[in-house]
Symmetry: C2
DNA sequence: AGCATCTCCCAAACCGGTTTAGCGACCGGT
DNA sequence: ACCGGTCGCTAAACCGGTTTGGGAGATGCT
């Protein structure tokens, strides 16, 4: 019938011991007899006592939470398949450790840094995830200055004191290029993500290198922004060229789908006259027409590993970088042999 | 050069006042001379002092955070345009109040209730958002029992002590039906969301009522699950009927896009032989071919209003329900007049 | 001058845990 | 019988704020 929730003092009194004993018993620390420990825990359960997270946070100077600051332009937020899946993976491991996830969504980079500052200043979190690594990412130094432990998704291009979860997009892109080359394509373009993202650059490099490895010169590359509108724009640009590509590798599925639509509106058959590949392998990719050849990634798996790595780091067990399995190509109906062209038919 | 961050005691000492005075000054409470207040604040700024969120949380028994528990099957997480946008809207108002958002993503309903229990038991949050209302939603009673303030998105079908942010999907669906009827459709089917969601049921009712209002009998309705796979399945089902519909209203864009693909694979022209409408108006909707007629919603706007409502509630200013503007139909290329059929041509 | 009132501030208690210092009981060894 | 060491526990300090009770000094009123 008690209105207010029981405190450690209530448990101590009921068990006939001191607060300290209850604390020791709860945390499984030595120095309390097994018999006593059991009794204390029994009383605690009977009273329905749960240690106050707030009090514990104050006295241990820990937040028991990790943070994620996400900078996304509003129009991309809804379309991004990565971030919700990543979070789900994170949650899976946080939940079993009674840790919480504090999320901040911001729309500009300036706000993003403020977000980290606030998380740090408030002591809301014990560590953070660093996503969407950028070229010469200033956030690394910021987090160092804030003394905020972090785990990066991908390997930064600047010196970083933080463990990284290494995800390699390149094999997937390379596989896509090889797949297209094997089909006979000689003119493979790329619609990339923004230049300043490391993963955008990595996918672009992979595309370029794979083509060179095949003895071909890379087709045109158009940097874009991961949005459907951007993908459509880039596609128009490529198809307007004097010598348009016979295949386009897009840096994500959304741009690829928009690109397919553009091709179609221009009267081009996909894959008959233009092959298209995406990246992410979203659920929709398999259910559009033609079904989209894409590169499957595992954001949820990355989230889980990143969370575990971060919790270890926060506990003082800074581990080494973790390598994740490479992305895999999933071949569907949006890729096929190119049409015969003046270049190829004598 | 101090390693550890300054505390209120440091500020008090430096300003030559007591801790209490600093606290009063900071919180703008009466009882401290204007001159003194300015001096204290100056010293605080000079020392770079920020009140410890943890200490404040303990002494005021407030978390200065709100929570969101999201139950989604993994395969839907990436495709759902609603939740990231909603969160972005929430953040916009939380940020300006120095509140944080604690997120929990779970995959089963059982886990969802545990999620709320944990948030409450840990005192991690002062209130929560209740999304995806279900028929006879048990979470209402749970939150009441947990004494956790909440704001619901939509009006529950059970007695609820919580303020609601009222979003009405029905006008959008009704507009879609009217649009199709005006085009000449007489046989309009619906691919719905899961039956147990209130908004799924609402969209279904709206579809049904709008058809009746037009003097037509509702075509078949297939409940589905908001996934691309589900949308494809439902579409096959509808097109396999002896008397297939000439138009299908889908409960979200993803199912509509998958449905369009199915129609196409079966050799049906959209919109020539089958008209299709979606719901959500995702960014991609405008960039597929044919561009998808859809119903535009404003999840980010809802998030902002829901956050403000929740913060007010937590502060003891439980307000009335808030009505949001209705969803609007956006007509694009996926809808057109139906082909002449035996029914219609004498 | 005397007294009530008001303003401004301080000291101390409090929130609910964790952690340290230390004390008595018990143990084995000599 | 005495001594050093371990075990099991308690009391109290501590984390860093907020809040309450009350005291000193200035002011107003008669």
């Amino acid at each position: 019938m008690s209105q207010r929730r029981p405190t450690i003092t209530d448990v101590a009194r009921a068990a006939g011991v001191s607060k300290g004993a209850v604390s020791f018993a709860l945390n499984g620390r030595p120095g309390v007899a097994e018999e006593t420990r059991r009794r204390i825990l029994a009383v605690a359960k009977e009273l329905g006592w749960t240690p106050s997270h707030r009090a514990r946070a104050l006295s241990t100077s820990r937040a028991f939470a990790v943070g994620l600051v996400l900078a996304r332009p509003p129009e991309l937020l809804g379309a991004d398949p990565f971030f919700p899946a990543f979070i789900a993976g994170v949650e899976r491991v946080l939940a079993e450790q009674s840790q919480a996830l504090v999320l901040q969504v911001v729309t500009s980079q300036r706000a993003e840094e403020d977000g980290y500052r606030r998380l740090a200043a408030d002591g809301r979190v014990d560590g953070v995830f660093l996503l969407d690594l950028r070229v010469a990412d200033p956030r690394i130094a910021l987090l160092e200055e804030l003394r905020l432990p972090a785990v990066t998704l991908g390997r930064p291009d600047v010196a970083s004191p933080f463990p990284a979860v290494l995800v390699d997009d390149r094999p997937g892109i390379a596989a896509a290029v090889r797949h297209l080359v094997e089909l006979g394509h000689r003119h493979v373009a790329h619609v990339a993500g923004p230049d300043h993202f490391l993963h955008g650059a990595a996918r672009r490099d992979a595309w370029e290198n794979a083509l060179r490895d095949a003895g071909l010169s890379p087709g045109p590359c158009v940097p874009s922004d991961f949005s459907a509108a951007g993908g459509a724009r880039a596609t128009h640009h490529l198809l307007d060229l004097a010598d348009p590509p016979s295949a386009i590798i897009y840096a994500n599925d959304v741009m690829a789908m928009a690109g397919m639509a553009v091709a179609r509106e221009r009267g081009l058959d996909v894959p008959g006259q233009l092959s298209v590949t995406g990246f992410d392998d979203t659920e929709l990719a398999a259910h559009i027409s033609p079904a989209l050849t894409s590169v499957r990634t595992d954001p949820s798996g990355w989230g889980g590993v990143a969370a575990r790595t971060l919790l270890d780091l926060v506990d003082g067990n800074g581990g080494p970088d973790v390598e994740m399995p490479p992305a895999q190509l999933v071949v569907r109906a949006s890729t096929a042999a190119p049409p015969p062209t003046p270049h190829q038919s004598p």
